[in-house]
Amino acid sequence: MKTEYQKAWFFVLPVLVLVAFNALIPMMTVVKYSVQETFGDNLFFWQGLGWFEQILRSDRFHAALGRQFLFTFLILIIEVPLGIAIALSMPRKGFWVPVCLVLMALPMLIPWNVVGAMWNIFTLPDIGLLGYFLNHVMGINYDMTQDPLAAWITIVTMDVWHWTSLVVLLSYAGLVSIPDAYYQAAKIDGASNWAVFRYIQLPKMKTVLTIAILLRFMDSFNIYTEPFVMTGGGPGNSTTLLSIDLVKIALGQFDLGPAAAMSLIYFAITLLVSWLFYTLMTKDDQN
């Protein structure tokens, strides 16, 4: 019986080769750099876990990690409730459904670096539509190239604009899959709007919301392009998130060893948080 399915390996093989070249081999290279010191000319000296220790003890890493968690926390706490609220208020049938869906999908179709450039120009104090309006019409002193708070507000707003749609679309998919009978039964049972949301809509959206939050966590935790294009990590280091710091170390200072160690730590944190979250969310379904 067992030999019958050996053919399947041939179908899996191309994927394995592809994954090996685009993930496994580069990753192993990173592992190699993370435990050695190099001065070019492919000369390597064994370093052990020294780079890991250095990164984990460095204040600079702690600060970047703190900023990263703050950023991810902020966008999740805004995007998830906002996404659910928008999904709930979208029409379920009729002419406006496709219109809403396309409008919602638009921001997600724009390339990351374009989003960064758009918001950069949009918020420039002298020529940007929003920047000019705030500074010269409203009289608010707003300049994200000078003021860390303005920079943070800008990158968070930009991410909310770019990615809330993902939460909206996934929640909406969960909502439309609820049969009418549930709403009718709830009406007959005398349920309030809040009870309908709490006991029907939210439980039915749980699976898709778990996926949405997971995707938003991973994406925002690894965000690079938009803040890089917009603030370049500044002013000062105020918006230097983990990935931006990593690139600075690897390509700016050319400290390949510490950068490799940092990548692996970064990767481990992302993996750990995702795993914890997913396990907690799906724990109920198992028993």
């Binding site: 009978a181 009718q184 039964a185 009406k187 007959i188 049972d189 005398g190 349920a191 439980p203 039915k204």
Partner: protein
């Protein structure tokens, strides 16, 4: 509990209905007496679910009124009408336990926990759910889920009517029978008015004291299961109820006598059909017998269904079914069909148009 009156009820899903065909429900006048067990029977799309949703308040009718004990509730929303409805697919609140599911309608109405506990325990016992009360409702089997839906309907003591919208659709065949007898038993215990919507005649006839047969948005007959079987008021009822249904044969009426296939067919009683109407003879297969005299016919199919044999014959281009006990004739055989006179009825434009035999009910 209450008596429910539907008065001149019409409903259309179009904003400006013009022809009668635009109406999903065409002029319905009906009284449901307090504590009765009713079935609403008809094929898919005949308007029975529309009627149900109007009674429950999920739909507001285009025209007409609904009265509960003489009080107009036409414009009232479902939760103000004190009704309960069980849907085709079991509706349960996934995140709650069975207990919380059953308690939900009471808690929403602000009953205190002592009352809730008492009612939920009583209903769970009636539905044989007591052992499951602390379980999450999400992972139960469909029949238990449907029992929870029923329980949520019955848990309130003041319900005016409990409605079932094809509640056994997703239940396994061997459990259908169990759940159906459970329902019947529940009706006898709680004595609430119950309306059971179905397209399955067995479900309707076993559950209900009174069956309301609907077709294309109209009520064609209301009666006990026996009445529907014995004297269908419309050829549709005759055809829809019974297995196989009533034989409906094209007939000509001249001089007060009906003719089919060139022969005079004696009827149960005098004809009341208006002249010019399209007339048909109706007789149930149970009352057609194979004899030595009568209509000559060719046997086209013989099916042994266990207790009896269904013989399908052809007479002058029309199909006539007969039910005989024991083994039937061979396929292709020439036979003669006899109709039992007191069970042979005439229909004009679909409606019953012969008077019952003297002395008959």
């Amino acid at each position: 509990m209450a008596k429910i009156t539907l008065s001149k009820l019409r409903h259309s899903y179009y904003p400006n209905p013009k022809t009668p065909d635009d109406y999903a429900l065409k002029e319905i006048d009906l009284d449901w007496t307090d504590g009765g067990a009713y079935a609403l029977l008809g094929p898919s799309g005949c308007g029975k679910s529309t009627l149900l949703n109007i009674i429950s308040g999920l739909l507001v009718p285009s025209e007409g009124r609904i009265l509960f004990d003489g009080q107009d509730v036409t414009e009232l929303p479902p939760d103000k009408r004190n009704i309960a409805q069980v849907f085709q697919f079991p509706v349960i609140y996934d995140t709650m336990t069975v207990y919380d599911n059953l308690a939900f309608p009471l808690r929403n109405r602000g009953r205190d926990e002592a009352t809730v506990r008492e009612r939920v325990t009583a209903i769970a016992e009636m539905l044989e759910l007591s052992d499951l009360l602390n379980r999450k409702a999400a992972h139960l089997s469909p029949d238990n889920k449907q029992k929870i839906s029923m329980g949520r309907g019955l848990v309130r003591q003041d319900v005016n009517v409990v409605m079932f919208d094809e509640p056994l659709t997703v239940i396994d065949p061997h459990l259908k029978w169990k759940l159906r007898s459970k329902l019947k038993e529940l009706h006898q215990r709680v004595r609430a008015t119950m309306i059971y919507v179905t397209h399955d005649q067995t479900e309707a006839l076993t559950f209900a004291d009174q069956v309301v047969v609907m077709q294309e948005g109209e009520v064609v007959q209301i009666g006990t299961p026996v009445e529907l079987f014995d004297r269908p008021a419309h050829t549709f009822v005759g055809h829809f109820i019974g297995s196989p249904g009533m034989n409906i044969l094209p007939a000509e009426v001249s001089g007060g006598v009906s003719h089919f296939a060139g022969q005079a067919i004696p009827l149960e009683g005098p004809i009341t059909a208006a002249p010019g109407a399209r007339t048909e003879i109706g007789i149930r297969p149970e009352f057609v017998s194979l004899g030595l005299s009568g209509l000559p016919a060719t046997v086209t199919k013989v099916s042994d269904v266990g207790r009896h044999t269904v013989v399908e014959c052809e007479v002058a281009g029309s199909r006539v079914n007969a039910i005989v006990t024991g083994s039937g004739p061979e396929k292709g055989a020439m036979v003669q069909l006899e109709f039992r006179r007191d069970q042979t009825r005439l229909y004009a434009d679909g409606w019953l148009a012969s008077e019952a035999a003297e002395g008959a009910a």
